[in-house]
Assembly symmetry: C2
Homo-oligomer: 225 residues x 2
């Protein structure tokens, strides 16, 4: 039986948030991965990388897994009723409801992380609490059928965990071997804990406008509720 995995493919997403998990999940036997958006027009990432949706939100098949990547493009979607209601109705039937990076905040804006432990990109971590989630400082967080990952590259760790949930430990190990995933980062600079304080400060300053916008939208949502 086909395992239908739907990945939200929106303008200004961060492409590696999606393409990392895609490469792992597409290797699950009988998986069919759908790139889902409002129309079938090509979509440009935040860095101008073009992605081609394969189905629309309207005509997507019933999904076993729904996945939301992050990137600046998720900011307006946190107030987009068509997208929020797509996520809500899909999540109600899916086996797994998942996200990486700031995709988690979109799941959160749809009310889908209330009462769940979850993670997101380090720069936006505390905003998870504004979605009713419990922010957890782990690279991948599995809580019942919610699976979330940290920033960008965590999508690979996330997807191997999800592959194990879906197809077992041995399948996930085999995929890891095929994609030679034995990482050797050149530096210890991947999180605010191990990076130089000066670089962390600079990154926080650069990301602050995005953080503030996300916070404002989630605060407005809380006031309405």
């Amino acid at each position: 039986m086909t395992l239908h995995i739907g990945m939200l493919t929106f303008p200004n997403l961060t492409q590696l948030d999606l393409t990392g998990p895609f490469e792992i999940l597409v290797r699950i036997p009988d998986a069919k991965v759908h790139l889902l958006w409002k129309t079938l027009e090509p979509v440009a990432s935040d860095a101008g990388f073009v992605l081609q949706p394969t189905a629309t939100l309207e005509n997507a098949p019933p999904l076993d897994v729904v996945f939301v990547p992050g990137g600046a493009g998720q900011i307006p979607l946190m107030e987009d009723e068509a997208v929020l209601s797509f996520l809500q109705r899909t999540a109600a039937r899916a086996r797994y409801v998942t996200a990486v990076c700031t995709g988690s905040l979109l799941l959160g804006a749809a009310g889908l992380l209330e009462g769940y432990r979850a993670t997101t990109h380090w720069a936006y971590h505390e905003l998870l609490a504004k979605c009713g989630a419990t922010p957890v400082r782990e690279r991948v967080v599995v809580d019942r059928n919610r699976v979330t990952g940290g920033g960008v590259t965590s999508g690979i760790d996330f997807a191997l965990r999800l592959a194990a949930e879906l197809g077992g430990d041995e399948l996930s190990r085999s995929i890891q071997l095929m994609v030679e995933y034995d990482p050797e980062p050149p530096y210890h600079s991947g999180t605010p804990v191990n990076a130089e304080a000066r670089l962390v400060e600079r990154a926080r300053a650069q990301l602050e406008p995005f953080r503030a916008k996300r916070e404002a939208i989630l605060d407005a949502r809380l006031r309405r509720a």
Copy 2:
């Protein structure tokens, strides 16, 4: 001054070989990343992921960096005179000549790794010797201006090393922080050395037809030389 980075974008490539490095390299200030192919028609990866070339081999700007990803699609290109001569004339002027995964064997078939230390996907490692290269069992190998990476996911480690070569250590650390690259593979199963022997055997058997085809093409090239 713009830093022009050209990534070969051919049918049946392994998309994460390209999209991993893209996400890192596009964050280098003043970098412009070009996806290059014979035409501007969309190209499908080995898993059906659609990529959109942005320039042709003919009209690409002079490149500072040329990059070759891998995947089954590189097999016919090892005998494709148009692609081989594009790589040769580009490499002659580029600051860095680079590849990950079986992209290294395409550089090799173009004669561009002769006398260089290099790496490729673990399943094809010994074939580097047939290109006149010295196969090195490291995740990323830098030898003068040749930079090569192992299989698929090694592209991220590769690109951070290359970013440091191009823009310095601090830039690379900052990019690593932005993409939260602090990997936590769920298993020790990323190479034939740390994966279970049974899984390695199965993977080798699955990949053997591809290995044999690559070997036959490189052997024929050696006979002609």
